[in-house]
């Protein structure tokens, strides 16, 4: 056997003190994890203590589980984007601009944490939009599908601004929808040829250069002539994205927006200008909407099934493996707590398939324990003292545990990198489960076994689930 892999070498656990410390640490971590999963228990206790305690104890940090669309209810939309109007190397930047446009629109809906992703596969560009808990899907679809509209506005003079503000204050309906500071012009995104990030020749600061076509150049020249030393508002989908001050009348159709932006801000502005200039048409090719009640239903059922599954495994383990079975159930409880806490911490978006993956991983986590116990019993039957049987059983089982878990990890990695997002959730929960279960076999089960009351257990073989004992005992 290769000693470098032996867990004994990796995790020196031999001194009794160290084992006790490890177990103590495991329990502390498990308890913190348990409160992290279920903070209301802590909060209730704290509320009671705080009545009499001189120092007020804080409530536990609350982090909700992140639920996927199939559990929380929501819509997943896949759009195919036509980038043929954009030159090849610009496609990525055009999609990024489009993503930004869509994100701003979606934010209007007040959806919590919308997910908008750009996906590039086999010369196709896709935009994936996930909206959790949205009621009016058709309105969202209509809004997302609109072509982005970029427009330039000029500043109103002070008298006009004041008048509109006064009328709005007075509640004059005619003026309510008006922008008191800017008024529309006839310059829009369709006159822009391109926008890109450049670096100032003297300042070395990032700036955004805008190129207008010949017609746009004329309108722009007019506009800048009228508005020297005034702000020019640039609006995308009716919302301002930039308001540079015109320094001088610009002819020739080429302008530079400079200012105190960093490279990312400059890039974003250029992308937004391009999004309005070269609209990338999108087409809805897939929609998946789940009603909130169906999601809740699925969630409850999965939790229920998980609990029952856990209980069934626990009963089997205790009946069949007796004392070691109890150890395994304790290890399994800690395993479950740690995995759930990790789901919150990372956070992992839990989907229906993801929860199934987690429940499956419970079954697999028991496997490490079973391997160790079977090996232990074998060594014990062969006439070894229980202390040695535990050590050898663990050392020998380790290779099986390692090899089998690595093969499962290969599967989860492939699932994660080669499939769609629905499957990714499953792969992630299973993968986390497998890694934590290896940790749990090495640290938790092993440490528990190490503090076995070896001498008294040797006298009670039935507690070890062994019928035929070697004559030695």
């Amino acid at each position: 056997m290769t000693p470098s892999y032996s867990p004994d070498k990796l995790f020196k656990l031999d001194a009794a003190k160290k084992v006790r410390f490890t177990i103590f640490a495991i329990f502390i971590v498990a308890i913190i994890a348990a409160f992290f999963i279920y903070p209301s228990v802590w909060d209730k206790a704290v509320n009671k203590i705080n009545v009499i305690s001189p120092v007020a104890l804080p409530n536990f940090i609350k982090v909700p589980f992140k639920l996927g669309l199939d559990l929380a209810g929501g819509t997943r939309l896949i759009y195919s984007a036509d980038v043929s109007g954009v030159k090849g190397q610009d496609a990525s930047s055009a999609m990024s601009g489009l993503r930004d446009v869509i994100e701003r629109r979606v934010n209007l809906f007040g959806v919590s944490e919308p997910v908008i992703e750009v996906e590039h596969s086999a010369s196709q560009w896709r935009l994936i939009v996930e909206l959790a808990g949205i009621k009016d899907i058709s309105q969202a679809i209509a809004l997302i599908g609109e072509t982005p509209f970029l427009e330039f506005k000029e500043q109103r003079d002070d008298a006009e601004t004041q008048k509109i503000l006064n009328e709005q204050k007075a509640g004059n309906k005619e003026y309510l929808a008006q922008d008191p500071y800017f008024k529309p012009t006839n310059l829009s995104g369709k006159y822009i040829k391109s926008a890109k990030v450049e670096f100032g020749q003297n300042t070395y600061q990032p700036e955004v250069s805008v190129q207008f076509d010949s017609e746009g150049a004329k309108i722009f020249e007019d506009l800048t002539k009228r508005n020297v030393e005034k702000q020019l508002g640039i609006y995308l989908d009716g919302l301002p994205i930039s308001a540079p001050v015109v320094r001088e009348a610009i002819s020739g159709g080429s302008a530079v927006i400079s200012g105190k932006f960093n490279i990312d801000e400059a890039k974003k502005l250029a992308e937004r200008l391009n999004a309005g200039a070269l609209p990338v048409p999108i087409r809805l090719i897939s929609q998946d909407s789940v009603g909130a009640s169906l999601g809740q239903d699925s969630l409850n059922k999965s939790i229920n099934a998980g609990l029952i599954g856990f209980l069934a495994v626990a009963i089997f383990m205790v009946l069949y493996y007796r004392f070691p079975g109890i150890v395994a159930v304790a290890a399994l409880l800690i395993y479950t707590t740690l995995v759930l806490a990790l789901f919150k911490l990372i956070p992992v978006t839990l989907t229906l398939a993801g929860i199934a993956g987690f429940i499956l991983s419970i079954g697999m986590a028991v496997d490490a324990n079973i391997l160790i116990f079977e090996r232990m019993k074998e060594e014990f039957r062969a006439g070894k003292g229980l202390g040695f049987a535990i050590d050898d059983g663990f050392a020998r089982a380790w290779f099986s545990i390692r090899d089998s878990n690595i093969s499962t990890l290969i599967t989860t990695l492939v699932l994660y990198y080669f499939t769609t997002s629905v499957v990714k959730g499953f792969a992630l929960t299973l993968g986390i489960g497998v890694i934590v279960s290896m940790f749990s076999a090495i640290f938790v089960t092993r440490s528990f076994l190490k503090i076995f009351p070896v001498s008294s257990l040797e006298k009670l073989p039935w507690l070890m689930g062994i019928k035929h004992l070697n004559s030695k005992f």
Partner: protein
């Protein structure tokens, strides 16, 4: 001790029956692909207060929309599922409008055919990569084993056992698809991949024991040594599969309707995976060994 190696031909025959049946089912009926793979729409609604109309009535009411390939099937006490060709959002809204106010829309999916084709390709790619990744890993993990069989043969035998475990659930779903209209979607592919991972889990444990015993009992012949190794790991294999089947059974009985067939595929696959790791993989090592020694 069970004489598994000695009776290997019986076990081969049993597997052969299932494999041949599966292949016939697959060739005869093929798999019934769901909208995930071939594109299309699925609308799930629930009627409130037991006011679900007759299926024919529903179909008649939707006639004006001229939906392609419309199939309407009642689900449970109050639900109805609609399947039709992929459609746009406007048509979807029309349908909901026609169905009236006393329905609750539980799910609507409309998937374009390009996405489906892509998913098919991705799934096949994923399965092939998993198969080869695992076989290579085994060949590597057993690299120090060279006698009497070299380590890559362990990898190949694992690959054969994995095919065995894949083809049986696939055959079952060809059967279910033909007779019960069960469609396969993304979840089915996931199930197959999990079966692969789990089955190899089992096979590795047995091979691992063979590897260990080869060192311990240098004088023993290969066949009795393999037989002993399989027997030594038998209880563990069965215990582990049993616990996994327990959790799956809980999911099957108490979990949501939408995962039922996913869980069923897993159960069948894990069962056949356990069978193959005990009765197929290790005996195959011996069969191969004997063929090599004859020449």
């Amino acid at each position: 001790m069970l004489n598994i190696i000695g009776k290997r031909k019986i076990y081969y025959a049993m597997s052969a029956i299932f494999i041949v049946a599966s292949i016939i089912a697959l060739l005869l009926w093929g798999l019934k692909f769901g909208i995930d793979f071939k594109g299309g729409s699925l609308l799930e609604v629930a009627y409130s207060d037991n006011k679900r109309p007759e299926t024919n009535q529903i179909i008649d009411s939707l006639k004006s929309l001229k939906l392609n390939d419309l199939r309407v099937s009642p689900v449970g006490d109050s639900g109805v599922n609609f399947r039709f060709r992929e459609t746009d959002e406007a048509t979807h809204q029309e349908i909901v409008k026609i169905l009236g106010g006393n329905i609750e829309e539980r799910r609507f999916s409309s998937i374009g055919p390009t996405i489906g084709t892509e998913l098919k390709q991705k799934s096949i790619k994923a399965i092939i990569i998993v198969l080869f990744g695992i076989s290579l890993y085994i060949a590597w993990a057993f690299r120090k084993v060279s006698r009497p069989l070299s380590s890559w043969r362990y990898g190949i035998v694992t690959l054969i056992a994995l095919f065995h475990d894949l083809i049986i659930p696939v055959g079952l779903f060809a059967f279910l698809g033909h007779f019960y209209g069960v469609e396969i979607g993304t979840n089915f592919i996931v199930a197959l991949l999990v079966i692969l991972g789990f089955s190899v889990h089992d096979t590795i444990v047995v091979f691992d024991r063979i590897r260990e015993n080869l060192k311990r009992y240098a004088s023993l012949d290969f066949a009795p040594l393999v037989n002993q190794s399989v027997n030594e790991t038998l209880v563990r294999s069965i215990s582990t599969s049993f616990t996994v089947l327990l959790t799956l059974l809980a999911l099957y009985v108490f979990g949501g309707e939408s995962l039922k067939y996913f869980i069923l595929a897993l159960m069948v696959g894990i069962f056949s995976g356990t069978y193959s790791s005990i009765f197929i993989a290790s005996p195959l090592l011996i069969s191969w060994f004997k063929v090599l020694n004859k020449n």
